[in-house]
């Protein structure tokens, strides 16, 4: 069950726990009379006073389906006898949470786009809109105690791994309230068991295998999810990592987010074999629809089970799409057509897909989802406001954090007579 938790002290965020309603799975289209279920309150609203009043003011006019089973697409398999199940069970609570989180990522990225164009965000900014189902689906298939590492298109993962929108946006604008105190920027955000945010294409893959090695070494039954893109998939160090991960049976899920383009180069022009799920050769692989959050979830659960049982690494290829260009400096239409982008948006959008599923199975109402949209928009607005008004880090923070656990030292400034202070 997916829970959005931040490891930090954050008074506006609380663990969202919903009761699992014990109703036998019903065929998708039949409405079942069920006890009234309180819609999940948003984190900002969950004070004791509100919680109490929620019980009284729950909607009485709608009986929602508590859960439904959906058919999901079969995965292409490589060196695997069986794949993930062909059906996924989605509870109403889960559905609302996935919807909320994906919508939060979507709106957060669009807001970042806006702020970038206003020059409030500068530097690199690689947006994740279109790929939300990957981040959300993966997180629901693992635990927060597992580990994850990705490349530079990392804002979505920073959120699912426990960051708040406020901290993420303030990091993008380079303010002291940012998740890395304003010193990391878009590509260098970290939370507990989330190792960024890495700028060098492909370098995160051996790092992820190293984290998996630590998991195996410490015997804690944790796994590491190690993400990379279709562009990075041709990197030599990834193949070096496949070799060692397989030799040493590291509990590592390699996930290729194939969004069809490595910067401006389409997959056909970059890879002699675009079957990225097979490129692990001796590593079993799956290829699946990365726009379907349930598909991603089931595959991740399957892969996590594979790793935890000591079978070694496994590779997943998620076929997904990014609506924006590679980064904010790329309009994204010189190497692909607007029609293509429009087609994906209308036929395969991950948020629309989930929304349609929930509405057509009476798992939620249009108004309810609209309300979530409104809450999300508000959260993003507040975060953007904070990110725009929070002060920049103080100048004497410039040389801090060079070394860890070291006594304070002096760092040469721009000339020999300027000494700057550095503390750990």
């Amino acid at each position: 069950m997916f829970t959005l938790v931040t490891e930090r002290e954050n008074p506006t965020f609380e663990k969202i726990i919903s009761p699992i309603i014990d109703v036998p799975p019903s065929p998708a289209l039949i409405t079942v009379k069920s006890p009234i279920i309180n819609p999940s309150p948003s984190p900002a609203q969950l004070t004791p006073a509100v919680a109490n009043s929620m019980v009284v003011s729950a909607r009485t006019y709608a009986d929602f389906t508590p859960q439904a089973t959906f058919d999901i697409k079969k995965c292409d398999l490589h060196k695997l006898e069986e794949g993930p199940p062909l059906q996924a069970v989605l509870t109403r609570e889960e559905g609302l949470q996935y919807y909320r989180t994906m919508q939060t990522i979507r709106r957060m990225e669009l807001k970042a786009d806006q702020l970038y164009k206003q020059k409030i965000i500068r530097g690199f900014c690689h947006l994740y809109d279109g790929q939300e189902a990957c981040a959300v689906g993966i997180e629901t298939g693992i635990n927060l105690s597992d580990h994850l590492i990705t490349a530079y298109r990392a804002h979505g993962y920073t959120l699912t791994r426990g960051g708040t929108v406020r901290e993420i946006m303030a990091e993008l604008t380079g303010r002291r309230g940012g998740i890395a105190k304003g010193k990391g920027g878009s590509m260098h955000m970290y939370t507990k068991h989330f190792y960024g945010g890495n700028g060098i294409v492909g370098a995160q893959v051996p790092l992820g295998a190293g984290v998996a090695l630590a998991c195996k070494y410490l015997g804690n039954n944790e796994i590491c999810v190690c993400l990379y893109g279709d562009g990075a998939a041709n990197q030599g160090q990834i193949f070096e990592t496949y070799n060692m991960a397989s030799l040493w049976k590291l509990p590592c899920i390699f996930i290729c987010e194939n969004n069809k383009y490595g910067m401006g180069t389409s997959v056909e022009r970059a890879a002699a074999s675009t079957d990225y799920y097979k490129r692990g050769d001796f590593i079993p692989g799956l290829r699946l629809d990365g726009m379907d959050v349930l598909c991603v979830r089931e595959a991740t659960k399957f892969a996590a089970e594979h790793c935890r049982s000591g079978k070694g690494p496994i590779l997943m290829e998620l076929q997904t799409y990014r609506y924006h260009g590679h980064s904010m400096s790329d309009p994204g239409v010189s190497y692909r057509t607007r029609e293509e982008i429009q087609e994906v948006r209308s036929k395969s959008d991950p948020i629309s897909m989930l929304k349609d599923r929930m509405l057509s199975n009476n798992m939620a109402s249009v108004e309810e989802l609209k309300e979530i949209d409104v809450e999300v928009r508000k959260e993003i607005e507040d975060a953007a406001q904070f990110a725009t008004t929070d002060p920049e880090p103080p100048l004497d923070d410039l040389c801090n954090h060079i070394f860890y656990n070291d006594p304070p030292m002096e760092v040469r400034g721009t000339n020999p007579w300027t000494k700057l202070k550095s503390v750990s």
Partner: protein, 319 residues
């Protein structure tokens, strides 16, 4: 004092060890230990002390180490702690850095630092810079070690000195031991340090025996990173060096002493952070400075030392 100093001079000329007789009831004082054995001791002691420490690299386990530095460790600690890797530097250096991020304390051996160039992105971008970029959230306690610089006739591709390259980068500590005592004390400190440390050994020094004091033989013998050592006192000229070239300086000092020129020989021990204070204090005394290194001169370690002296507050007083 002078005789003690002569004891600690270049191992080739060292007198035989001073061993007190057992019947006096006191344990032996100084012993002769090669740099290789000193490194081996340091590794053994740190592996024993902390479960999270492990060694990985090419041929470190079953082969006992390409230069036998890790001899006996695999037999003692097994596959979990001493890991043989395939010949994939970028991959295994990255794996080591990732393991450090996740809470272990890896020692990543490069067969020589020339091969570290294949993995230099992981050393600099993944290890050195991460603590800063994460504003203190993600430390990387890792040691990269291996032989550096020239060996005996191994040709250009296997002879480069990387002190200047790694010494350039903030976030890294760069250590270059000379004697057995240096090797042991500094390697132990490097392993216990919570930051990425590049530990530059030298293949030609591995077999050289040095006097190792009783204190240095203890399991908790540590040398501070960032402090140079004055190997020989003198008044006329300061010779600053690191690693194998310290032997050369001491030999030169012995020759010059016959002509009445007393050299002060400073063993840098650490490249980064540079102990500029020790060098400055010495230069204030002698007013003459020569840097001696195995790396190329342009943009090198000596160039940095000279720049620091020239920029120092006392440069014009020196004149």
């Amino acid at each position: 004092m002078a005789s003690l100093r002569s004891f600690l001079r270049s191992g080739k000329n060292a007198v035989s060890a001073v061993l007190r007789r057992e019947f006096h009831g006191t344990p032996p004082a100084a012993v002769q230990v090669t740099v290789r054995d000193a490194l081996n001791q340091a590794l053994d002691e740190e592996l024993e002390r902390d479960e999270r420490v492990f060694l990985l690299g090419e041929e470190v386990a079953q082969y006992d180490g390409a230069y036998k530095v890790s001899r006996g460790l695999w037999k003692k600690y097994g596959d979990k702690r001493i890991i043989d890797t395939p010949i994939t530097e970028m991959g295994f250096a990255g794996i080591a850095v990732g393991a450090a991020m996740a809470g272990l304390r890896p020692i990543c051996e490069f067969m020589t630092f020339n091969f570290s160039m294949q993995a230099i992105d992981q050393v600099i971008n993944s290890a050195a810079k991460t603590y800063y970029m994460s504003a203190g959230l993600q430390p990387v306690p890792i040691v990269f070690r291996g032989p550096n610089g020239a060996s005996a006739g191994v040709a250009a591709q296997h002879s480069q000195c990387f002190a200047a390259w790694y010494g350039h980068c903030p976030g890294l500590k760069v250590v270059s031991p000379w004697s057995a005592e240096d090797a042991k004390g500094l390697l132990k400190s490097a392993i216990r340090d919570d930051n990425p440390v590049v530990f530059l050994e030298n293949e030609l020094m591995y077999g050289v025996p040095f006097e190792m004091s009783e204190e240095a033989q203890s399991k908790d013998f540590l040398l501070p990173i960032g402090k140079a050592k004055i190997e020989r006192q003198g008044n006329h000229v300061t010779l600053v060096s690191h690693s194998r070239m310290v032997s050369l300086c001491l030999d030169a000092a012995a020759v010059l002493a016959k002509e009445g020129i007393e050299c002060e020989v400073i063993n840098m021990r650490t490249i980064r952070p540079l102990d500029a204070e020790a060098i400055e204090t010495s230069v204030m005394k002698t007013n003459h400075l020569i840097t001696v290194e195995g790396g190329w001169p342009q943009f090198g370690v000596g160039a940095e030392i000279l720049a620091r002296i020239m920029e120092g507050k006392d440069f014009f007083i020196c004149f």
